[in-house]
């Protein structure tokens, strides 16, 4: 079982997860429409428009930033940023994974020192616990929380807990190694088909939609308007 989980299973779970992510990105993208500018546009306006578009882009970006959670709720922003960065970096650049990547596909990703990934894992678990406590203790978040939200947060943390225990060989090494691999594959698969796929929406909504608080002024719209202004489908 070890050989299967450490090798071919990655093909299965990665393709299940990534295909879901791709599929849902396409679905959201297809729900948007090409934007159009109202009124007529002269060639001069076009040139002037291009010259100012860099400035406009930068201005949109900074305006978006100043209204975003980076400024509005800095501490939570830093918490969730740290959580997500470590979440993505740790599994990709872990020495033990690097060895497996090389054994299976002869690709060598840069590997972080083991002490470094240890610290990153502790950061993930600490941030995860804070997010969990916030879910339980903040009334506004608690009212929103469903069993699925808690389950997904726990599922996300599971490979890190089990991996940490297995790597440190505290106890029951074999069991925790297998649990680590199983939960890891589950997270990869869930990435495409559950709420964990939120990064798909994030990139479409924040980078391609114009207005609507996008970080860079995209050119697409959630709805298409007729010339008289009513919403078309």
């Amino acid at each position: 079982m070890y050989d299967f989980l450490a090798g071919p299973m990655l093909w299965i779970s990665a393709s299940v997860g990534l295909s879901g992510l791709l599929f849902r990105t396409i679905l959201i993208f297809r729900a948007t429409h090409n934007g159009y500018t109202r009124g007529t546009s002269s060639p001069i306006a076009g040139v002037a428009g291009r010259a100012s578009s860099l400035m406009t882009g930068l201005r949109t970006f900074f305006r978006g930033l100043s209204r975003s959670f980076l400024i509005r709720q800095t501490s939570f922003f830093l918490l969730t940023l740290l959580f997500h960065l470590c979440l993505i970096i740790t599994p990709l650049f872990l020495t033990a994974h690097s060895v497996l990547f090389f054994q299976s596909w002869q690709i060598s990703l840069p590997a972080l020192p083991e002490r470094g990934t240890d610290i990153l894992t502790v950061i993930i678990l600490a941030c995860g616990m804070l997010l969990f406590l916030r879910r339980l203790l903040a009334p506004s978040v608690r009212a929103l929380t469903s069993a699925q939200d808690i389950a997904l947060l726990m599922l996300t943390l599971a490979p890190f807990v089990t991996g940490f225990i297995a790597y440190r060989q505290y106890f029951a090494y074999e069991t925790f190694l297998r649990l680590h691999m199983i939960t890891g594959h589950l997270v990869l698969m869930a990435l495409g088909w559950t709420r964990l796929g939120h990064m798909a929406l994030f990139f479409v909504a924040r980078f391609f939609i114009s207005g609507e608080h996008s970080l860079v002024g995209g050119s697409r719209l959630w709805y298409r308007h007729s010339l008289s202004g009513e919403e078309l489908r």
Partner: protein, 130 residues
């Protein structure tokens, strides 16, 4: 013959047709991380501190329920949503979500769906008046 007014049901075809028109809202609901970050951007929530008035709570428990229970939703369920749709939101469109979910758009469409079923806030009867 107990004198109770006969309740009309739900025009299910119309409900489903209106939900079908807003594919993006189904996707929004499937990605909402229920993180509650939108709460602080809603003046109503900030004023009253009522955990059942955060933007996501209002959208998920109205439009979200319409999507997930479109086959079984009763007229009473829709009537019950009036408190959230009209009582706790003024559609000022200030709510902000890190994913760019158009929360007020969803609340607004849920209102439209209710109106199309003949359910709306009767301001003459509302306790606070207008």
């Amino acid at each position: 013959m107990n004198g109770a007014p006969l309740q009309r049901g739900v025009d299910r075809d119309k409900l489903k047709a209106m939900l079908r028109q807003k594919r993006r809202m189904r996707y929004f609901l499937s990605f909402c991380a229920s993180c509650g970050l939108c709460a602080e951007s809603c003046f109503y929530y900030r004023k009253h501190g009522d955990p059942r008035s955060t933007p996501a709570y209002k959208a998920v428990n109205t439009l979200g329920v319409m999507f997930s229970r479109k086959r079984t939703l009763s007229r009473d369920d829709l009537e019950g949503m009036k408190v959230l749709l009209w009582g706790k939101c003024v559609l000022c469109r200030r709510c902000y979500c890190p994913f760019g979910i158009d929360i007020s758009g969803m609340i607004s469409w849920a209102r439209s769906i209710c109106r199309a079923q003949g359910i709306y806030e009767d301001y003459r009867k509302s306790s606070r008046g207008l």
